[in-house]
Symmetry: C3
Subunit: 283 residues, 3 copies
């Protein structure tokens, strides 16, 4: 362990396994039984709680809390035993709080002041924007992008390649207050635009577009465009044209590939190149 | 004072009174004239400013600022003289900022990154969710539950047993910009669902239900269901049935008691058992 | 340099220039090549990254990150070279994160947990409320006031004397997801009320009023009142009367001057007193 570039006032617990070329900056607190993969950088004032495992070549910004306590801690103040894993090449920006008891894939990225609660299962290549609030007990697939200030209620299920824009809320309580939560299911390639609210238990169909500010009170069909309060289907996404070029815009996978696995080619070429068992169904 | 489980780099001011079995973790700053009740736990990197009084058996998470400065501090940098009291058994989760000059009851609970400004008066058994922003100079009763990212404008008055869901905004300025604020009054047992906005000075009636995404431009009557933009009364809450069981859902107090004083019994039994002077009026 | 009132555990880098009467509190980290103007106060646990320049008589609250890293840092972990300047008499409240590579004028003020990303150009006398999220690459004029939890998309342009209220969102992507951003332009003296969403590329006219909860899908004319989803022009602001006094309320500059340059006089007197080259056009 080469501490050459490490900061001051660092506190490190027992049974901490730190890979090669890890850098830890000032005032960090690393609790017991933490694993930090090689080449990972942990910035000043960050707390990594016990039983957290962080992959290789990650960046954890300043003032983060990684492996945050569950409610049980506050009663007994015993060692935090829930396990958190964060995959390789992840970037957690400053001020974020990630609970113990979640499982997060590779190439994960957050903005600032993000909260991710317990029992969240998050795939690879997911990005979650500044101030987003993932309430836990939910499933997020691969290549999902949540913009700033998105609120994901418990029991939500978000499939691969979904885009959710700022201030969108996925709710879960059909008769508030209650404990009979029913999550929203967002199907792959769906787009939920800024400031929309989705009622509990609804299906947001593959490749649909929920317009900005929609209050979604019934399920949205694949390829449907839904807008308004309450939201109504007004069109098919395949009819939307770029106002400047006149070209069709949707399905977006045919026109946009930044950070997607088809970034270097086209969606169709990439999809055709997949092994049979990796091919997923497109309606 | 038994500092056995205390952390490192703690700074403690003058005239600090610390109860038995208090634990203070690394890098905390406790300013002058602070009182910390017995069995309270203060996690790392937290700042408790002068003249703050925290009750017994509380938990203050990491990276909190408790007793935050008013505007006057920034001019003179003199000692913070405004008083903050937080009751027993409270749980302030990490990243929250609570101003001096507020009064908060027992069993208080916050999520993360909550801001509570000065001159807030908050009763017992209140819970305020992650990212909520209480603008100060407001009154919140007992057993009130605010979910994530709720915005409570100055001069708001929230009675007992009120539920407010994510991204609800209580406004206060009828002719923005102005300084002629008029607060919203939310009556007991009312429910304001996700993403609603309530215009200044309105009454939100006892036991009413403001639907998700409503823009409330006139007062809502007791038991009324109000939805839409602008919100209109469309029904009576007592007509709403649970879609699965067919049972009535509202008034919610008859069907839901988690964390409420009638948790172990029913609302009616509990209400009947109250002393005459504790009975409150139900319309 | 008089360190009489300085705190403990302060880390200061190379080539830091600190003015007279600066106070730095506990656990602060001041990186290389930082300039701090005279009389400035930096509260505990705050990080000032390299190449940040802070003016005279500023207050930087606790737990702030000033000069936050761009994406490039996370790849190489090299010294942060982007320059941030913050003008005199500024007040950054606790928990805020301001990126390197922005330019901010005098008398700047933020609430808590504010994020301001890179390439933001912000004039003098601007105030940005708690939890607001300025996405960077935008221009904000002078005397602009953003309330809590405002989201300013990249490429937005906000002129002088604009008021934006809580949870307003200025969007920028006409065909999400894409990289063809088009910013909103908010003209001077406009008011955007709570919870409104403005679609990409629109003009928000001088002195107009966008009502609370409006979903703005076409440009709003000067002096127009626009409300609803989708927003429609329903009136002229000059017809709005104060419900109590019966007096006209708008243009607001004739009735409200707090923190404005005409605070001590009237707008018209102040405007008449301006030098010819300082006079701006009012429609």
């Amino acid at each position: 362990m080469n501490k050459k570039n490490w900061g001051e006032n660092i506190i490190i617990g027992n049974n901490v396994r730190i890979g090669n070329d890890v850098i830890i900056k000032h005032n960090c607190i690393i609790e017991d039984d933490v694993v930090i993969g090689e080449g990972t950088y942990i910035d000043s004032n960050t707390i990594i709680r016990s039983n957290t495992s962080i992959g290789d070549k990650c960046n954890i910004g300043s003032n983060c809390i990684v492996g945050e306590y569950w409610m049980d801690f506050y009663k007994e103040h015993k060692k935090q035993e829930h396990v958190l894993t964060i995959g390789n090449h992840s970037l957690i920006r400053s001020g974020s709080i990630i609970y113990a008891g979640s499982e997060i894939g590779n190439n994960f990225q957050t903005g600032h002041q993000v909260t991710i609660r317990e029992k969240s299962k998050i795939g690879n290549n997911v990005s979650i924007g500044t101030l987003s609030d993932i309430q836990g007990n939910c499933t997020i697939g691969n290549y999902v992008r949540l913009h700033s200030n998105v609120h994901i209620g418990q029991l939500s299920k978000i499939d691969d390649y979904v885009w959710i824009f700022p201030y969108v809320i996925l709710t879960n309580d059909p008769t508030p207050p209650s404990e009979n939560f029913v999550g929203v299911h967002v199907n792959s390639f769906a787009i939920i635009a800024t400031g929309s609210i989705v009622m509990p238990g609804l299906e947001i169909g593959q490749d649909c577009l929920v317009g900005a500010g929609a209050i979604v009170t019934k399920s949205v069909k694949p390829y449907e465009v839904a807008v308004g309060n309450p939201a109504k289907g007004i069109s098919d996404v395949r009819r939307i044209k770029n106002k400047i070029t006149g070209e069709p815009v949707y399905p977006w996978r045919n026109h946009f590939g930044t950070y997607m696995p088809w970034e270097e080619t086209t969606f169709n070429e990439w999809y055709d190149s997949l092994d049979i068992e990796d091919k997923f169904k497109i309606i």
